[in-house]
Subunit: 426 residues, 2 copies
C-alpha cells in the first residue's frame, strides 16, 4: 500500500458508474413495456435476462418452508438475533407527532405518518445478501409501513437464495416476488396484476436498477443512488496494525472500486499496516478483487496530528470510519462527515454490517456530507398541522393580507380578510 | 365549478412539466460552461438570459440598506414577526443526537450534524416571493447550517426585489448572489471564483432550474422537484361557503395548472360554494389565471359521509388540506396523506403561506403520499455511532463471522475473528 503525506486526496475521487445512452434507452423501453403489459412483461423479461420461465411471480409458502430446511438452525438463530438487534436500534429513531398550543387557542403541530407501502430491491446474481434484506425491511417495519414487499431476480432454477427468504420472513415481509432489474423497479412504480404499486423503493442494484430508480423518481420516492463504497481508519500509535489491515481488507474485498484508506499520525503504524495488508491479502479467497481495490484506491496518509487527521476524514466524508486512537470518544465531536463511525479496537466494520443493529445502507462516495444511513425517517412522512383560533386570525389577518399583497396575491389577502366579520354569505 | 359524485378523481392527475430534449441539452451545456468558466460564464449567461451586464455578482451592503429604505416600516415589522413565528415552529423539529448503552460496555448511537452549507434558489421574474426566502432560509438557520447563501436572477436593472433582500437579511443569510436559471444551480453545485460550492440546493424554479437540479443531484443534495400545487377542502354543512370559495381561489390564482377541490357531504354547501366562486372570481386581479385553474382542474365532489370524504382526500394526497367540519380534530387521525392540514374555519390557507410558522414548501401533485414539508431534518444528516466492547466482540465474533461467510465475504469474517486473541502482530 502506498504511504504518503496527506496533501492530495484526489486519488479518492471515483466516479459513480457512468451510464451510457444505450443503457438509458434500454431502461426506458423496459419501463414502458412493464407499464403497458404488466405481468406478461415481467415473465417475458425474466426469461430474457434471468434465463428462466417462471410459473408464478410470487414466492410461495412452500418455497419459504423449503428455505428454512436448507439453512442450518444455528444460522437461523443468528439471523433472528441480528434482526432483533436491528429492530432495537431503529426503534430509537421513531419520531412522535407533536404540537404546541398558544394561549389564544392556536395549535400548531407536525403529524408523523408511516408510508402505506414500500418495495425493497435485493440484488441477485453471484452474491446473495440476507443482511441487506434485514437492513431494508426492519426499519420499514419499525416505522409502521403497512405493506413491505421484496423483489429479487431469480436464479436459473427459478428460485431465490434460501438465506434471502429466511431473512425476509424473519424481518416481517408482506410478499416476495421473483423479479429483478429495471423490470422489477417498473413493477413497483406502476403496479402490475400481481405486484401492487408502492410509495417508495429502496435497496441497491446494478446500473440498470439505478437508472430505473432515477427514472421513476417522482412517481414514487427512492432512496439514494449508491456509488462505490469506502472505509477510512483514523489511527494513532496505539492501534493494532493487524486489526487495521484486516478491516481495510474487509472493505476492499467488496469491489475493485472500493476504497480503503488509513489516516495516521504514526509512521511506524503506517509501515506495519502496509506489511500486514500484503500478508493478509495472500490468503483471501477474494484476493484478486481486494488487491485491485487496495492498489488502485488504497492509501495510507500520514498526518502531523489527530486534529489534522480529522480534517482529512471530514474532507473524505467516508461511508465507514473507524477511529482507533487512545481516546476515540474525544474525537467524536469534531467528526462531521461519515456515514457510520466505529470507535475503538473492537468495533470492526463487519460488526455494523451484520449485527450491532445500526444500518449498513450508508451514504457512499462522499455523500455523507449531506446524506444519512437508511433509517426510520425514510419510511415516514410529516404533515404540518395548523389550527388558527378566532382571536389569532382577528389579530393577524391584516398583517397576513399585507404580506400577500406585497407578493401580488390578492386572492390570498381576501381569503384571510373574509374572516374579519364580513357577512356570512355575501 | 362542476359538481359531481366522488367516483372518478382522474381529473386531478396533472403531469409534472414535461421537459423537452432541447431543454435538457441546453441545461447540460449551461452546466458545463459554468463548471469550466466559473464567474465568466455567470456574467455571460446573465447578460444573455436576464438582459443585464452585472458589475458584480454579490449583493452589496449598500444595496441591502437601499432595500430597507424602500420597504415601509410596517411591512418590515410583519416580515420580522413572520420570521420569528417560522423560527419558533421549526425549533420544535430539531433532533438531538442520542445513544444507548449496554451493560457489557457497548454504546450505539446516532449523531445529528447540520450541513456545512446550503444554497437557496429564489425565482425572479414578475413574482417576487419574500415569504419563500424565509421558508427556505429559517429552517436551515435553525438546523445550524454554517453557510447559507441565496441566489436569484436580477431584473433588467441589475437589482433584486427589495422585499427579497429584506427577508434574506432578516432570516440570517450569509451572502446573496445575482444569478438565476440553470447557471445559478451550476454555480452552487460546482463553485466559481465568487460563489462557493454548497452541499445542498433547495427552492423552486422554472423547468430549467428543475432540470439543472436533477442533473447535479448526487454531486450535491437537492429538495423535491415541485409540480403544480393544489388545495382540497373537506367540509360538512357547518362550513361557511364564503370562506371555502375564497380559500379555493387563493390557490387557483397561483397557476392555471393549480387544482382547487372541495369534498363535501352537503349538496347545499356545494351549490353555495359554486356560486361564491363565480361571484368572488369576478373582482380578482388575477381572475384569468384563477378561472382557468378552476375550470380545468377545479371540482366539487359530493360524498355520503365524512369517512368517505377522508378516503377521497387520502386518494388525492393534497399539498394543502383544509378541514371545515363541525369537529375537524376528530378527523386528524384518519388523514394519512396531506402536506399541510388546516383545521377549522379560521385556518385559511394563506395563514400557513405567510405567518403561522409552519413551512409553505410542501409536497405537491400527490407526493404527500411519501414526502414531507421542508423541515429542519432536510438541513441535517445523521451518522451511526458504534462502540463495541471487548466482551461484546468476544461474545458475538463467531456469529458475525458465520453471517459474513453465508454471504461469501471471508475478509469480513476474518476481521472480526482477529479480535479473538490472535497474536498482536502476526
Amino acid at each position: 500500500m502506498r504511504i504518503e503525506r496527506a496533501t492530495n486526496l484526489n486519488s479518492l475521487k471515483r466516479n459513480i458508474d457512468q451510464d451510457s445512452e444505450a443503457q438509458l434507452k434500454a431502461v426506458k423501453s423496459i419501463l414502458t413495456q412493464v407499464r403497458e403489459q404488466g405481468d406478461a412483461a415481467l415473465y417475458e423479461l425474466t426469461e430474457k435476462f434471468d434465463k428462466v420461465l417462471l410459473s408464478e411471480l410470487e414466492v410461495t409458502e412452500k418455497e419459504i418452508e423449503q428455505a428454512y430446511s436448507e439453512v442450518d438452525d444455528e444460522m437461523i438463530a443468528i439471523i433472528k438475533e441480528a434482526a432483533k438487534n436491528i429492530e432495537d436500534y431503529h426503534v430509537q429513531q421513531k419520531k412522535q407527532s407533536w404540537f404546541i398550543t398558544k394561549e389564544d387557542g392556536t395549535l400548531l403541530g407536525q403529524k408523523v405518518t408511516p408510508l402505506d407501502s414500500v418495495g425493497v430491491y435485493v440484488p441477485g446474481g453471484t452474491a446473495a445478501y440476507p443482511s441487506s434484506v434485514l437492513m431494508g425491511v426492519v426499519p420499514a417495519k419499525v416505522a409502521g409501513v403497512g405493506r413491505i414487499v421484496l423483489v429479487s431476480p431469480p436464479g436459473k432454477d427459478g428460485k431465490l437464495p434460501a438465506g434471502v427468504l429466511v431473512a425476509a420472513r424473519e424481518s416481517g415481509i408482506s410478499a416476495i416476488y421473483k423479479a429483478g432489474g429495471a423490470q422489477a423497479i417498473g413493477a413497483l412504480a406502476y403496479g402490475t396484476e400481481t405486484i401492487q404499486k408502492v410509495d417508495k423503493i429502496v435497496g441497491p442494484g446494478n446500473v440498470y436498477v439505478a437508472l430505473a430508480k432515477r427514472e421513476v423518481f417522482g412517481t414514487v420516492d427512492i432512496d439514494m443512488i449508491a456509488g462505490p463504497s469506502e472505509i477510512a481508519v483514523l489511527a494513532d500509535e496505539t492501534a493494532n496494525p493487524v486489526y487495521v489491515a484486516a478491516d481495510l481488507l474487509s472493505q476492499a474485498e467488496h469491489d475493485p472500486r472500493a476504497a480503503a484508506v488509513l489516516v495516521t499520525t504514526s509512521e511506524e503504524l503506517a509501515n506495519q499496516v502496509a506489511e500486514q495488508v500484503e500478508l493478509q491479502l495472500k490468503t483471501l479467497p477474494r484476493q484478486e478483487i481486494a488487491r485491485e481495490s487496495i492498489e488502485t484506491y488504497g492509501a495510507i496518509y500520514l498526518v502531523d496530528s489527530l486534529s489534522q487527521g480529522v480534517d482529512v476524514i471530514n474532507e473524505i466524508a467516508p461511508e465507514h470510519l473507524e477511529v482507533m486512537t487512545e481516546h476515540p470518544m474525544e474525537l467524536l465531536g469534531k467528526i462531521k462527515h461519515a456515514g457510520a463511525i466505529f470507535l475503538g479496537p473492537n468495533s470492526s466494520e463487519p460488526v455494523g454490517d451484520y449485527f450491532a443493529g445500526s444500518n449498513h445502507v450508508l451514504p457512499t462516495s462522499g455523500t455523507a456530507r449531506f446524506s444519512s444511513p437508511l433509517n426510520v425517517d425514510d419510511f415516514t412522512k410529516k404533515s404540518s398541522v395548523i389550527m388558527y383560533s378566532e382571536s389569532a386570525i382577528e389579530e393577524n389577518a391584516k398583517k397576513i393580507a399585507a404580506f400577500a399583497r406585497l407578493e401580488g396575491l390578492e386572492a390570498h389577502a381576501r381569503a384571510v380578510e373574509k374572516r374579519l366579520g364580513e357577512s356570512e354569505h355575501e
